[in-house]
Structure formats: structure tokens, C-alpha cells
């Protein structure tokens, strides 16, 4: 293994002191001169045609500047999903739709001198609707006699299956081998249906955007975005403002988890600012974030497998029905990932078939959310595997160790399916899942607790496990770039398109550059994600930043390194071949051991002869997407009398290749784990009969806090990914895939009930316990 000096070290997060001291700025913290405020008004109905909008009461209010809605503002069709262009998501929405498709759909926006006035005026607008039939049940969405949510105009900009006439927003089908034949070869068939629910990201910072103007009259948008470059493109596309007249700046971001991969506010503030040539601010309330921003897609997953007495799976069939809600943001790709990130896990299954449909309903819109479909798929997959193990008398850990994909192996699935279209074949070149399983099992005391049903009063203990994989960027799609320039003192400015949303990518990218140049992180001054100043990057999603943007930075630093050597060579006359980069900011001449400090090289290049600046740029796109792996273990106490499940301990052991920064990597696992536990047990959207969310605040949408967290143990099983920067793969999404199935499996271990529907609330658990006792 390589000896690193910066990589693999717990370097302090470069932005953390400013965050701790409150000097860092989030989007809503910028003061712009004399701003106007934008407030939205929303559909109270799940499905309706707007027949008239009377905005005169609002316009008559003092301080109201303008009102925007479908009656006065048109835009083309687009998707709010911030993805590669053209997007795999359908173009099925406009800034202001004439048909509203869920309670919470944006109807219009009021621009006023104060936030208070804008919000008061938004309430004063009278909208007339003709009600249309709602559609809440995704299972019925493809039937012939249900309302059709989208019309003739909507289209998919990529050649993918899109059939709005059947309410189908996305379809994924593939198979290999012969599943039916496989089933006939089996000794047992196991078939069950699992349901996952929609949930909110709950990034602590609500979405905000501010549009202002620079001295040349160009539009400068500060936005809480994960995708500044996509945001710029989408703003231009929806508003007609020329792209070169727009600059998007990403300040510090208060968490995203996918919710800010969605371009929601930017077009509206841009539109209003451009029209009135005034600065415009918009900041959503938490309630608006719940109802109008995106959710994790709810998914029904049916899994059927045939297997032999020894556990060999002869065929596996998965059928997913995903509820994308009113619009198809990320519909196709989340659906794809429910298969492509799940099914390669057992790559020795000879016969496999997957059918997936993403359907429209008149409910809140699904979108990108940490785990991105894999979370949903693994909830079913891991319980299914647990059921197989119990049927054939195998131990889950040993069983998975026997069948999981290994280094040097591939899976048909990689080729069969990518992001909605065909995938990219790849061979797994790093996989320490077996080690993850062993270390995790030891930490959770698997052998001591499994199947023991230790009892204390009405409380029974159980342990459960799950495994998962994710990807590192989207192969052949994601691209990141970086540039660097050298300063007089031997420090470097690093400009990266990559978007740090709290994940620590500014730190990791600085570490990668510092490692390559043998200097400390302090000598790297990073500036990221400003569409004017930094090169392009697709954004913070798809677990891409460390792998994709990291490679871009590494390549860039390599070029800088070459220039350092060639400049040192012309300075000293020593042949380049004798020169190498040493530690601590110097070039070393191996012939005589002499050292040339970076600062001298910098000054030579800039001030002495044939003056030039040492600078470079590089891009990287991934030709493959090496999966990180993780084993997840839960120890739970189930109260037989109340149905309450308490997670006592949770262990997540992951292989993310070489962790660039172990503290940040562990932090990603811990955060994802807690989010996953909360997702499994308490978080849920509650709707009334008309499809309106009734719990759109933290008052009744409960997420885990300091009192709730169990003992969480995150473990890194290091590997080295040959295609990654310094051997790194991704880490930030995968941790969320395990808690729900591991907890479900632990509940089964404790009390013998299978919870196939999320969230596993005490009431559901108790009902299942009673149903079993009654049987």
C-alpha cells in the first residue's frame, strides 16, 4: 500500500472553522441592496385545471410589485431535475402549469417589497379551479380507467420509454438467462412484496435563492444548489436569459442529500429579477420544503426467486412500481438504480429479470435522495435474502460472503442497465465486502446474539444484517473539471466545479492536490462551484465528487507537477529526468540532492525569464462506476406489548476504497446511518383524503435527534480502487441503504415477524406481532 502524507489523514475540514464561528455565509445570509421578495402560492387540490386567476387583490396591496402565474407568464416544458443534458427525466412541467397535479404544486408567485407582504399577498389571490379526478394509488396508475396526469405535449428529451398516456413516466426492462426455466429448477420459491414510502431529505437549510446584478447588468444567482452548472443551464432555458448573462454562485450549503439537485427556486428569482431589474430573494419555509420540494420516491418492490436446498439461487425476478408523484423528476434513473445498484450484488444468479415502472400520481414529486433507488431496492433484497437463508438454514453473513460479487468479477446487470438506458460493462476491481461482513459481525456480536431472542420483560432482542453497494459517479455521463494556478509563495489556487454541500469535498479535493504536490492542505486555496470562476462539473450527486472530481483534480495537479519540474529544469539546467517533487513544497534533484523550493520556482516562472504562470486545467469523466460496498448490522430491542422497536446498536462497515479523509468518510457513514434509521422507523408523509400532506413540519414529521441515536459504529475496510484517485471510491450515499432492511431482519430475528412496509412504526409492529400470535 502507498504511503501517503495527506491522503488518508484526518485533515481538518477546510471550511469548518468558519462554520463553527458563524462567519461562513449560506445563501440566505447574503445582503443584497434593496431586495424584492418572492413568495409562492400553491394548489390546494391534488388535481385541477386552473380556470381563472384573479391577482387584483394582491396587486392592490401596498408593496406588491408583480404577480406571476400561468395567466401572464409562459415557459417551455422542462424538468427540475439537475442532471446531465439532455436529461433522462421527462420534460413535463412548466414554471407555471395550467393544470395543477398535487396539493402543493406551484400556481404562481408574488413579488413584493417585503417577505411579509409577498406572503400576505400570495394568500389574497383568488384562483378558480375545475377539479379533476385525483390519482393516489400507484397500483392503479397504469389501468385504463384512471385519470391521465399528463397531456400530449410532455416528452422525454432522450430516446427512452415515456408513455404519459398510460401515466408511465419511466420504464426499465431487462432480463438475461431464462427466469422461468430457473424457477422450475428450484427446490423452493420465495415471493414477497415490499413497500417503501416517500420521505423528506430534511436538509437543515431550507431552499433559498437570491438573484442580483453585477456592475455589468449580468444576473448573479446565489443558490442553495447541488448543481450550479445545471441550474445556470435550466434558468437560461426556462427564462430565455442568455446563459452568458448568468452567473450562479454556490455559497455554503446547509445539506442537500439530493433535495438541492432539483432546480426549484432559481428560475423564478431569475425571471422576477430580470423583468424588474431589481434584486430578488426567495426563501422557502420548512413547510414549503416538505410539500413542494422533492421526496424519496415511494416504491413497491416484488421479488421472486427460486433456489435450491443448498441456497443456490436459480432465478430471480424483480418487479418495481415506483410512484414518481406529479412530475417525473429522476423517475427513470431512480427506478434504474433500484435494479442496477442492487442486482449485481449476487452476480452468480444465472437467470434474472427486472421490470420497473415509474408512474405518475397526484401526490408530491419524487426526486433524488441519497441512496437513489438503491435504498428502496435493498429494503426488499436484504429481507428476501434473509428469508432464503432462514428457509435453507444458512447464516446470512456466511451466505452473502459466499454469493456476493468479488474482485475480478462482473455482473450482467452492469451492462444491461445504466441510467435509464443500457449500462456500461465493468469489472469490479476492489471489493472488501467479505471483510466488512466479518468485522461488522464481530462488532455487533452476531454469533452471540443471532437467534437467541434474549428477553427482558416484554422486550426481546434480535440482530439483523444487510449488505449494499452503490456507484461512484455515472459511467460515461458525469464529468468534473478543475484548474490550478501557482502563487509566489508556492501555494496554489484550486478551482473546482465540484459542489461541496457539507460533504467535505472542498477538503478532499484539496487533499488530493496537496498529496500530488507534496505540500500541506494549507498551501491549497480552494474555490468551488461558481459558474464564472470555476470550470464545469456536473454537480454533487450520484456519489461522484470524490471519484470523478477527485480524478480531475489529480490530473490537474499532475500537470502542475510536470510544469514544476520543467521550470525547475530550466532554472537549474538539471535534466527533468533527475528532478522529482519532494515533500514540503520543493523539487529535488536526485543527482546532487539539492532542493528547489516551490516559491523560487513560482517566482522564477512569473518574474525571471520567458515569464508564464504555472497553471493547468483538467477534466475527467468516468468510464466506469466502481461500487463501494457496505455491510450493515442492527441490534434491536422489540417491545412485544407496545410494538416499539429500539435500535440499540448499529454497525456500518464500508469499503470506499482508499478513504481520502477517514474522519469525513466515517462522518458520511454515521450521518447516512442515522438518516436511514429514522427513515426506517419514524419518518413518513401523512395525507388527508384529498391528497394534502397533513404533517408538513417537524412537529409531526419526526426525525432522529440527539436523544434517539443508538450506539453507532462506523468501520472502514480499506481497499484500493485502481481507477479512483489514490484508490478512492464513493462513500456518502451508501450508508443509507442498510438500516431499514437490517432493522427489519433484526425484528424478524427477535420476534419472527416480517415487516414489509415502511416505516416500521410501533403500531404496525404490534399489529404484526398480534397477527402472528393469533395465527
Amino acid at each position: 500500500m502507498n504511503e501517503f502524507s495527506v491522503v488518508g489523514k484526518p485533515v481538518l475540514k477546510v471550511d469548518s472553522l468558519s462554520l463553527a464561528c458563524g462567519s461562513a455565509f449560506f445563501t440566505a445570509d447574503f445582503t443584497v441592496k434593496d431586495p424584492l421578495f418572492l413568495a409562492f402560492f400553491y394548489s390546494p387540490h391534488a388535481h385541477a385545471e386552473i380556470t381563472a386567476i384573479d391577482d387584483s387583490p394582491a396587486r392592490a396591496m401596498e408593496g406588491v410589485v408583480d404577480v406571476f402565474h400561468s395567466g401572464n407568464t409562459s415557459s417551455g416544458l422542462f424538468t427540475t431535475a439537475g442532471q446531465g443534458y439532455p436529461e433522462p427525466s421527462p420534460y413535463d412541467t412548466r414554471l407555471f402549469n395550467k393544470t395543477v397535479r398535487y396539493a402543493g404544486d406551484i400556481v404562481g408567485a408574488v413579488l413584493a417589497e417585503s417577505d411579509k407582504t409577498a406572503r400576505a399577498a400570495a394568500r389574497a389571490i383568488a384562483v378558480e379551479y375545475t377539479l379533476l379526478l385525483p390519482l393516489f394509488d400507484p397500483e392503479k396508475a397504469m389501468d385504463g380507467d384512471v385519470p391521465r396526469i399528463h397531456g400530449e405535449d410532455e416528452y422525454a428529451p432522450l430516446p427512452v420509454a415515456y408513455r404519459p398516456e398510460q401515466n408511465i413516466a419511466g420504464e426499465v426492462l431487462f432480463s438475461f438467462g431464462n427466469v422461468e426455466k430457473g424457477f422450475t429448477e428450484a427446490d423452493f420459491i420465495e415471493e414477497e412484496t415490499y413497500n417503501t414510502h416517500c420521505t423528506s431529505h430534511c436538509a437543515m437549510e431550507p431552499h433559498a435563492a437570491t438573484a442580483s446584478f453585477d456592475e455589468h447588468g449580468r444576473l448573479v444567482i446565489y443558490s442553495s444548489t447541488q448543481v450550479p452548472f445545471h441550474a445556470r443551464r435550466i434558468v437560461s432555458m426556462t427564462t430565455g436569459i442568455p446563459l452568458h448573462r448568468i452567473r450562479v454562485v454556490k455559497p455554503r450549503i446547509g445539506g442537500g442529500f439530493g433535495s438541492k439537485q432539483e432546480v426549484i427556486l432559481e428560475p423564478y428569482v431569475a425571471l422576477a429579477a430580470w423583468k424588474h431589474k431589481r434584486n430578488v430573494r426567495a426563501e422557502l419555509t420548512r413547510r414549503e420544503v416538505f410539500t413542494t420540494v422533492r421526496t424519496r420516491h415511494a416504491m413497491r418492490v416484488r421479488v421472486k426467486s427460486g433456489f435450491k436446498k443448498d441456497g443456490t439461487i436459480t432465478a430471480l425476478q424483480m418487479d418495481d412500481l415506483m410512484n414518481t408523484g406529479a412530475y417525473g423528476a429522476h423517475a427513470l434513473t431512480v427506478l434504474s438504480n433500484a435494479a442496477s445498484k442492487v442486482l449485481p450484488m449476487f452476480n452468480k444468479i444465472p437467470n434474472m429479470a427486472f421490470t420497473g415502472h415509474a408512474v405518475y400520481t397526484t401526490l408530491p414529486v419524487g426526486g433524488a435522495y441519497r441512496g437513489y433507488g438503491a435504498t428502496q431496492g435493498y429494503f426488499a433484497f436484504n429481507q428476501h435474502v434473509d428469508a432464503i437463508c432462514r428457509k435453507v438454514g444458512a447464516d446470512f453473513v456466511e451466505y452473502v460472503k459466499k454469493w456476493h460479487i468479488r474482485e475480478g468479477e462482473t455482473s450482467e446487470v452492469f451492462r444491461a442497465i445504466g441510467e435509464g438506458t443500457e449500462g456500461v460493462s465493468q469489472i469490479v476491481r476492489s471489493c472488501k465486502l467479505t471483510e466488512c461482513l466479518d468485522r461488522g459481525a464481530e462488532e455487533i456480536r452476531w454469533n452471540e446474539l443471532r437467534g437467541k431472542r434474549l428477553r427482558s420483560g416484554s422486550v426481546v432482542k434480535g440482530v439483523g444484517a444487510a449488505v449494499s453497494m452503490q456507484g461512484s459517479g455515472i459511467a460515461m455521463v458525469d464529468m468534473g473539471s478543475a484548474s490550478m494556478k501557482m502563487n509566489d509563495d508556492g501555494s496554489f489556487n484550486l478551482f473546482a466545479g465540484a459542489t461541496d454541500i457539507g460533504t467535505g469535498s472542498d477538503t478532499i479535493l484539496s487533499q488530493i492536490a496537496a498529496e500530488r504536490l507534496g505540500i500541506s492542505v494549507e498551501m491549497i486555496v480552494i474555490l468551488s462551484s461558481d459558474t464564472d470562476l470555476t470550470p464545469f462539473d456536473t454537480g454533487a450527486y450520484a456519489s461522484s465528487t470524490t471519484y470523478i472530481s477527485g480524478q480531475a483534480v489529480l490530473r490537474c495537479a499532475e500537470k502542475i507537477g510536470e510544469q514544476l519540474l520543467s521550470t525547475a529544469s530550466s532554472m537549474t539546467g538539471a535534466p527533468v529526468g533527475n528532478l522529482s517533487i519532494g515533500k514540503g513544497g520543493k523539487v529535488i534533484n536526485s543527482a546532487d540532492g539539492s532542493e528547489i523550493p516551490f516559491s523560487e520556482i513560482a517566482c522564477y516562472s512569473m518574474y525571471s525569464r520567458n515569464q508564464f504562470q504555472i497553471q493547468a486545467q483538467a477534466s475527467f469523466f468516468g468510464e466506469e462506476s466502481p461500487p463501494p460496498f457496505m455491510a450493515h448490522f442492527a441490534e434491536v430491542d422489540v417491545d412485544m406489548e407496545t410494538g416499539r422497536v429500539r435500535v440499540v446498536k448499529f454497525v456500518s462497515a464500508g469499503d470506499c476504497g482508499q478513504p481520502i479523509n477517514p474522519v469525513l468518510a466515517l462522518g458520511q457513514i454515521e450521518g447516512a446511518t442515522l438518516n436511514g434509521i429514522s427513515y426506517a422507523l419514524t419518518e413518513q408523509y401523512l395525507f388527508d383524503a384529498k391528497g394534502k400532506m397533513t404533517n408538513n413540519s417537524f412537529w409531526d414529521y419526526k426525525i432522529y435527534g440527539s436523544l434517539d441515536i443508538p450506539e453507532v459504529k462506523a468501520i472502514l475496510a480499506e481497499s484500493s480502487e485502481p481507477s479512483g484517485p489514490y484508490g478512492a471510491k464513493s462513500i456518502s450515499e451508501i450508508g443509507i441503504n442498510g438500516p431499514a432492511p437490517a432493522i427489519a431482519n433484526a425484528i424478524f430475528d427477535a420476534v419472527g415477524i416480517r415487516l414489509r412496509e415502511l416505516p416500521m412504526t410501533p403500531e404496525k409492529v404490534l399489529a404484526a406481532i398480534k397477527a402472528k400470535a393469533g395465527r
Binding site: G457, E641, T682, K702, G705, S706, L707, D708, L766
Partner: protein, 275 residues
């Protein structure tokens, strides 16, 4: 916009006079008023400068001034009377920064369905002391039954005539640690050897704000501890609920009874309450 005037009286009389005005409300911690908004008021009387921020125990009578916050009650009592059920109840309500604001006066006036005060108040058979309009002393049921007495009335303190020397158990049904309770269970008891001298139990959060479980109390008062086993507590503790986000009416009713039984066992038999 409607003009709102803030007042900061320093005496009870001054405050009472201000509250006699139209559309004028007292302000305790503000956590209820921020939510409801001030738009229907023209005057707000802040109580912080009144001499109501005290907690004292005299001859077994606990008196808590209306301006005491949940946090200060829990803190003060944990020295004075650490086993008091109010320590557990008010010390676990809402969250730290909220407990630092929520006052006894505001909570008595508001007594929300999620109140952490009402159950303990019921089992300790507290009284509400008021000044100004309708000045006097009210027990819980007359206070709750008569909303209008609260209008324009200043709650000055609560009296808990017999607050000390109880064994107690408090349970709040929450989905996560920081949550308002879907229901609460309060049990206090005094034992003498194996004899139950007195036991009181209440469930809050059901259709009635708070329900005293008098059947259980009657069945146990003056009896031997062994009597507990012969009562069908789970049946006797059934309280009617409405549906809540935390669960269906049936579920809440069922598990509230489970927790009543556990609290009774914990208090009477010393078994730790299982979470």
C-alpha cells in the same frame, strides 16, 4: 396593520389593570403566542417583571410562580424534592431551549392536549391561583370546564398542596426524544411497608384532556401491594383516544393502558419502567 402595544408591568395590580382592557393578553414564554400570532390583539402584557418567578415549598405545600419556566421548575425541584413527578415531567417536555421559555402560567392557561404539566397537576391535585378578573383559586376540573374564567385573568401561581414524599412514575409517549407526547401517564403513590396508603394515576392526551383512573385508585388505596396483581389494570386503564399522527385511537388507548400498568408496577413494586 393593527397596532400592538407591549407593556411591562412590575406589579400584579398594574398587570391586572392592563389585562382588563380589550384585546389584551398576557405573555409568559411566548411559545404559544408565537404560534397563534398577535394579530387579534392590541396589547401584550409581558409578565417577566412581575414577582412571579419563584418556587417555594412551605409545610409540604409547593407553590410555583407563573413565570417559572419548565426548566427552572425541574431544576429548582431537583434540589428541593427530587422525586417529585414534576421533575421528570417538566424536565423532559419539548426540548432544552423550549423548556427555557415555556412558563407555568402560559401552560396552565393553554393546557394543550400535549401538555406535560396536566397529568402531574392532576395527580398532585393542584390548584390554580389567579388575580384580576375572576381572581381566586381553581381546581383543575373547574378551570378546564370554564374557559371564560381564563379570559382577562392572570394566573399568578399554582399550588400543589401535597407535593412531597410521593413515589412517582411519569411516562410520555413520543415518537422520537424531542416530540410532544401523544399521551402521558402519571402515577404517584405512598406506601407503608407492603400497604398502599394512597395511589393516584392519570392519563392525558385522550379525548378528555386528562383522565383520573379512579377505578384503579379505588381498587388499590389502602390495600396490600399484592392487590395490584389481581386487578385487570390493562382493562381498567382504558382511556378513549382520537386518532393522532402517532397512531390510531385504538392503538393509543391500548398502549396507554400498558404504560399505566408499567408505571403502577414501577411505583408500587419498584420494577424499573421499561422504555
Amino acid at each position: 396593520m393593527n397596532r400592538i402595544e407591549w407593556y411591562f408591568p412590575e406589579t400584579i395590580d398594574e398587570a391586572a389593570a392592563l389585562l382588563a382592557r380589550e384585546r389584551t393578553v398576557p405573555h409568559g414564554g411566548g411559545t404559544g403566542l408565537v404560534k397563534s400570532g398577535l394579530s387579534s390583539f392590541s396589547g401584550v402584557v409581558d409578565l417577566a417583571k412581575l414577582p412571579l418567578n419563584y418556587l417555594k415549598m412551605e409545610k409540604g405545600i409547593l407553590e410555583i410562580g407563573a413565570s417559572q419556566t419548565f426548566a427552572s421548575v425541574a431544576e429548582n425541584l431537583s434540589n428541593l424534592c427530587p422525586d417529585c413527578i414534576l421533575v421528570a415531567a417538566l424536565g423532559s417536555a419539548a426540548s432544552t431551549p423550549l423548556r427555557n421559555r415555556i412558563t407555568i402560567g402560559g401552560s396552565v392557561s393553554f393546557f394543550p392536549p400535549w401538555s406535560d404539566l396536566i397529568g402531574p397537576f392532576s395527580v398532585l391535585e393542584g390548584e390554580i391561583c389567579t388575580e384580576g378578573k375572576n381572581s381566586g383559586t381553581y381546581d383543575l376540573s373547574s378551570w378546564l370546564a370554564n374557559r371564560p374564567v381564563q379570559q382577562g385573568t392572570l394566573v399568578t401561581s399554582v399550588l400543589l398542596p401535597d407535593a412531597a414524599d410521593w413515589d412517582s412514575c411519569y411516562y410520555r409517549e413520543v415518537r422520537v426524544g424531542f416530540d410532544y407526547p401523544a399521551f402521558t401517564v402519571s402515577v404517584v403513590a405512598r406506601k407503608n411497608g407492603s400497604k398502599i396508603e394512597k395511589v393516584r394515576a392519570a392519563v392525558s392526551g385522550g379525548l378528555e384532556r386528562v383522565t383520573r383512573l379512579s377505578g384503579i385508585e379505588d381498587g388499590l388505596n389502602g390495600k396490600d401491594l399484592s392487590q395490584l396483581a389481581s386487578l385487570d389494570v390493562k382493562k381498567m386503564a382504558r382511556v378513549t383516544f382520537g386518532r393522532k399522527p402517532a397512531g390510531s385511537a385504538e392503538y393509543l388507548s391500548e398502549i396507554a393502558a400498558v404504560h399505566v400498568e408499567r408505571c403502577l408496577k414501577s411505583v408500587l413494586l419498584g420494577g424499573g419502567e421499561l422504555r
